[in-house]
């Protein structure tokens, strides 16, 4: 039941913001469903495959998906994801989390100024 609620919340965020929903799934799997970090991130990626497919179909129906540009960022990202998963097995994630959060704040500031 918890998983169903987490899934619905993740799907809502995913379609509203064009993100996978991992930002919702990973912390909730850890805090509310007792997952460890690694299974949580891995399971989240698998779930996101279904979520993103549903979101893509929704927006494709509205004619807003640009396939060539999706390939431009999505295909290199697929290669990066394999590398990232390999790194995760041996890297301490704390520094990366902190660095990534600084990057996100910088991007947010830029978007707000646009």
């Amino acid at each position: 039941m918890r998983l169903v609620l987490i899934g619905v919340a993740a799907g809502f965020f995913s379609a509203l913001f064009g993100v996978g929903g991992g930002i919702v799934i990973v912390p909730l799997l850890v805090l509310a469903a007792g997952f460890d970090e690694r299974p949580a991130t891995a399971t989240s990626l698998a779930a996101i495959g279904i979520t993103a497919l549903a979101g893509t179909l929704f927006y494709a129906y509205h004619g807003q998906v640009e396939v060539a540009k999706a390939a431009l960022v999505g295909l290199p990202a697929a290669a990066g994801a394999v590398g990232g998963a390999a790194l995760q097995q041996r890297l301490h994630r704390r520094e990366i989390s902190l660095l990534f959060s600084v990057l996100l704040v910088a991007v947010a500031v830029r978007l707000l100024l646009l």
């Binding site: 379609a15 431009l72 994801a81 959060s101």
Partner: protein
């Protein structure tokens, strides 16, 4: 051309972060696609398609490390479809500049949450 190369680089970086943290693909895809000249809604829609190969590759390689719990992933994924429809309808009804501001707020919230979790786990 320069912009396209930067997009490929950012895509690669987004993938590494996604594989590493299990999040982050779309959070970086959307700003990248905005930089390529897409509007907020087209950027979000296109980001979702770009997430597909990223999530598939990430899940495939995490599966090799035995980390994926497939039953839970299936329940989460199928349940998310209901949320997708709700979120999509809301996104279609909001003006794009509001959607963009909300997205920026989301980035700050995610940053705070990541920093907090990193802090706590130390």
């Amino acid at each position: 051309m320069t912009v396209a190369l930067a997009a490929v680089g950012l895509g690669l970086a987004a993938g590494v972060v996604a594989g590493l943290l299990g999040i982050g693909g779309g959070l970086l895809f959307v700003p990248t696609l905005l930089a390529l000249g897409l509007g907020q809604r087209h950027a979000e829609a296109t980001s979702l398609l770009a997430i597909l190969p990223t999530a598939a590759a990430g899940a495939w390689s995490q599966n090799r490390y035995g980390n994926v719990r497939w039953r839970a992933a299936l329940v989460l994924g199928v349940a998310s479809i209901g949320g997708v429809i709700g979120g999509g309808v809301l996104a279609e009804s909001l003006p794009e500049h509001v959607l963009r501001k909300l997205f920026a707020v989301l980035l700050v919230c995610v940053a705070a949450q990541l920093a907090w979790r990193a802090w706590r786990s130390s």
